[in-house]
Every structure is written in C-alpha cells, then in structure tokens.
C-alpha cells in the first residue's frame, strides 16, 4: 500500500525533539568546565563526585524515597478499597464517592499545595515528612482507584460468587481470590504513584522546609544560585533511574496499559 510519508517524517522530528534534550544532559554531565557549557571543552567525572559530596542532594534523595514509599503505600491501600467498593457493591452515594475519589486530579497541584500548607499543616503543626506523605497520597489516590477499577471490571465476577457461595468469607475471598488476580494493576499503580511522588514539585514546593526538602526541591533551590554541570550529573542519574523503572515495568506488566 502506498501512503504518504509525511506522518512518519513528523514522527521522527517529534522523537528527535523529545530525545535530544536527554542526550544533551547526558553529555553535559561529563563536562570538565567549571560552569555549564555545551559542548563541553573537556570531559571528566568530577560532577558525579561533586553531587555525592553534596549533603543537600543525598539528604533530599532519602527524603524523596521515604515520602514516595509511604505515600504510594497509603494511596494504594485507600485506592484498592475504594475501587473494590465501587466495583462490587451497590450503594447509594456511589457517584459521590466516585467524584470525591477523582477530585484531586482536577484541582491544580499548586493550589493543593497552597491549601494544604495554609489549612492543614500550619493549623495542626504537622512536620514536613507526614505533611508530604499525606499531600502526595491524596493527590495520587485517583490514579490508584482508576487503574485498580479497570482491572476489577475486567475480572469476571463469577469466581468471587462461587467462592462466596461455597462459604468463603468476604475477607478470604478478597485476599485469596481477588487480590492475586489484580496483582499487576496494584503493582502498576504502586510504581506509578511512587514515581509521581518522587518527582513531584508543585505540592512539595509548599510543604517542604528549609531543613527538610525532597530532591526536586533541593535541585530547584540549588539552580537558583549555581549554573554548573552538577545538576546535569544528577539529572543523568534520575533519567537512568526512570528509564530503568519504565523498562522493568514494561517487561513485567506493560506500563503502557496504565496510560490508556
């Protein structure tokens, strides 16, 4: 079949536009100049050493890991229970529950950050890590609900019915019959919410403190005063990290499913 080449050419240009910045950062990270320039005039590994000795980055990394781990666990727990209720129970106010569970994606995250700081964190004197965990979890519950709900609606209800009619308790049915069948969806939303939390800026911007901040926030404040390749080195590590996550998830369960 003979079709026009035009779409393919646009696709190539688009991919180039998407990918080239990543390559530029990879190369810039190995630059040997004292300030950022491209192409670098010499090459070295010194910026990787430099970021490893920056306490703010190391500390920020661990804060991010802790917050992302806890908030993704919290949002998947709430997400699975709400999704299961929506998929398998009929009750009044179902639509209201559905609305409340999707609301966080409609409100701009910067607005969420401001509201949480003013009317939750300051009022209750919450410290930084719990504030971040709560804020991120609220933000990402809709993703967990949606992914798990999609998987539940593809799971035939008959197997649960037979389990129940054979005398299995609701609890037993859920953990032994349902959960193993939606394992991929649960894993996908765990990984997705972990990454979204790890990378989050708009909410973290308001909820972090001078003392304790997540990695993206530390990078932002470092960039206010410095223009050197250490951020390129750090970005390189983060790009490798996300590439690894995308690759592993795609291999395990097909991450592309999560975005449909």
């Amino acid at each position: 079949m003979k079709t026009s080449r035009f779409p393919l050419i646009v696709l190539m240009i688009l991919l180039g536009f998407l990918i080239i910045p990543f390559l530029v950062v990879l190369i810039a990270a190995f630059g040997g100049d004292p300030s950022l320039r491209f192409p670098p005039s010499s090459f070295s590994l010194k910026w990787f050493k430099e970021i490893m000795s920056q306490k703010a980055f190391i500390k920020g990394f661990w804060v991010s890991v802790k917050v992302a781990g806890l908030s993704s666990l919290l949002s998947i727990t709430i997400g699975v229970s709400i999704a299961y209720a929506l998929a398998r129970y009929s009750f009044r106010a179902k639509e209201l529950v559905q609305l409340i569970a999707t609301l966080p994606v409609i409100i701009p995250q910067l607005v969420v950050g401001l509201a949480l700081l003013k009317y939750l964190v300051i009022k209750t004197n919450l410290s930084v890590i719990p504030a971040l965990v709560i804020g991120h979890a609220a933000l990402f519950i809709p993703y967990a609900v949606r992914i798990v709900l999609a998987s539940l609606s593809n799971l035939p209800i008959d197997i649960e019915q037979s389990a129940v009619s054979l005398g299995a308790s609701r609890f037993y049915t859920f953990f032994r019959i349902v959960l193993p069948n939606i394992r991929d969806a649960v894993l996908t939303s765990l990984i997705l919410t972990f990454i979204l939390s790890f990378n989050n800026v708009p909410v973290s911007l308001f909820l972090t403190d001078v003392g304790i901040a997540t990695l993206p926030i530390q990078m932002l404040s470092y960039m206010e005063y410095n223009f050197d390749p250490s951020i390129a080195a750090l970005s390189t590590l983060l790009i490798i990290f996300s590439a690894a996550v995308v690759f592993i998830t795609e291999r395990l369960i097909g991450l592309s499913q999560a975005f449909k």
Partner: protein, 278 residues
C-alpha cells in the same frame, strides 16, 4: 452487576475521611476565604486581581502560552500518532515506552536540559558562534517557556491520540482509499470524527498542564515573565500575600474548568479521564 448490596462503610469511609480532611476541607476553606474582606463577604480580592497590571499580564501570558502550546502539540502529534499506530506492534511498544519515559522523568531534570541547549554557552548559541552568527537570547524569554512546555506535554497529547488511532481499523482507511477518497477526505470524514475524543483528552491535559505548570516558567522564563503559577508562588512565598495567592489559585482553577468545559462542548465528548502527570 454487583456482588454485594450492603453499604461498604469499612471500605469507603477510611479513604473518604482521609480525602475530606487532607484535601477537600483545606481547599474549600481556601476558596471560601478568598471571598471575604475581613469578616464581610466581598469580591474586593478579585477586583484587586483584575485591576492589577502585573496580574493582568500574567493571566494573558498564561492563556496565550497555553493556547499556542496546545495547538502546536495537536498539529505535531496528530500525524505522528497516526504514524505510530500504523507501525508493527514491536516498534509501537518501543515508541510508546520512549514517549512514556519523559513523563516518568523528573520535570526539573527535563527543564534543566533546555537550559543547557538554550543558554548563552549552550548548544544553539555555540553552534551559531561556530558559523559566525551573533548569539541569540532565548533563555529567560517567553520562547524558552514555549519550547520547554511543548517538550513537557507532547507525551500527554501523543498517548490519547495513539490509542484513538489504534481503535480505527486499517480496513476503514483502505476501503475509503479504494473507493477513491482523497487524503483530505479521509482526514476530514474518517479520522477527525473518530479521533475527536482523543484529541479532546490530549487538549485538556496539555492546556491544564500549561496553565498549572510551575517548574518550566520558573526556570526557563525567569522572574520577568511571570505566569499564573509563578505569580501564585511569588505571592505566597516571597511577598507573603496569602489572599492574593489564593485569588490566583481560584482564577487558575476556574480557567482550567472553563477550558475543559469548552473543549468537551466542541468535541462533543462527555467521558472524562483523569489527567496524566505534572
């Protein structure tokens, strides 16, 4: 069909209470407080926003940038998504993974890469110097924000469009071609109606993304090209004008709602999907 008909309070209530305390109440109070001047109900805070030249400029700039980036993303992604949908499944999976990768990457890192490309000592200016041209000032201008946002949000346009095109069987296109339809007719009569929903979802994601993105305008635009997001942060954290920040937040939210409604109206779609990232 449902399995149980009892009210599943033990499944729903914990999450609901969490969302109400950690999300709905703070936002409701924030919005409500913007309507008060001292203790009396008034729109004075909004009037101040409308009459303030800095806020006006930030608002118009935000809408302008969001509209242009959304249209550019549609124009580039439409043919590209079609091309992806017609590839063999092996290539398609690889390309979709390549498109998802930026979404999974830290936005600070992604925006930083444009500083390396657009900066005074960056890729473009060093290339210009090499061929003997004057350096261009791109970083810290509106153009840098355009480029950065387009790069940030292209995946959010690509993914719904790819899945829209994947749902059109190739036979439909072949049949139309066989019967003598021109490329334009195929585009207008077949693709447009069948991809309208994907285009609308992509449009909503990109537009709302542009209106609310913080990192890109903060890093690439500099402090002289404020958008609503950077204005909001400046009011909340630098000038400590909480009421002003709240007004910006409400204006930002209402703008996204109006555009979502408008795009749904134009494309005739009702079904909603939660947003991607950012």
């Amino acid at each position: 069909m449902t399995l149980y008909s009892k009210w599943p309070w033990f499944l729903v209530l914990p999450g609901l209470i969490f969302l109400v305390i950690a999300f709905i109440l703070p936002i409701a109070v924030l919005f409500a407080n913007s309507l008060f001047d001292g203790s009396s109900l008034s729109l004075i805070n909004y009037l101040n926003f409308v009459q303030d030249p800095v806020s006006q400029r930030a608002y118009l700039r935000t809408v302008k940038i969001a509209v242009i980036v959304t249209l550019l993303a549609m124009a580039f992604c439409y043919p590209a998504a079609y091309a992806v949908s017609r590839l063999s499944s092996k290539w398609r999976i690889l390309l979709i993974a390549l498109i998802i990768l930026p979404l999974m990457t830290n936005s600070v890192a992604r925006t930083f890469s444009w500083m390396v490309i657009l900066g005074r000592q960056g890729l473009i200016n060093n290339a210009l110097k090499l061929i003997g041209l004057e350096p261009l000032r791109i970083l810290y201008t509106e153009n840098a924000v355009f480029i950065g946002l387009l790069h940030l949000f292209i995946p959010l346009m690509m993914l719904p469009l790819i899945s829209a095109f994947e749902n059109i069987p190739e036979d439909v296109e072949l049949a139309a071609r066989n019967l003598g339809a021109s490329e334009w007719q195929i585009f207008l009569k077949i693709f447009m109606p069948l991809t309208a929903e994907g285009l609308a979802i992509g449009g909503i994601l990109v537009f709302t993304g542009c209106v609310t993105a913080y990192v890109t305008p903060a890093i690439l635009g500099g402090s002289r090209h404020l958008m609503l997001s950077t204005l909001l942060y400046q009011k909340a954290s630098v000038t400590l004008d909480w009421v002003g920040a709240t007004v910006v937040a409400v204006v930002m939210f209402i703008t996204t709602l109006i555009v979502i409604y408008f795009i749904r109206l134009v494309s005739g779609t009702q079904r909603s999907k939660p947003a991607g990232s950012q």
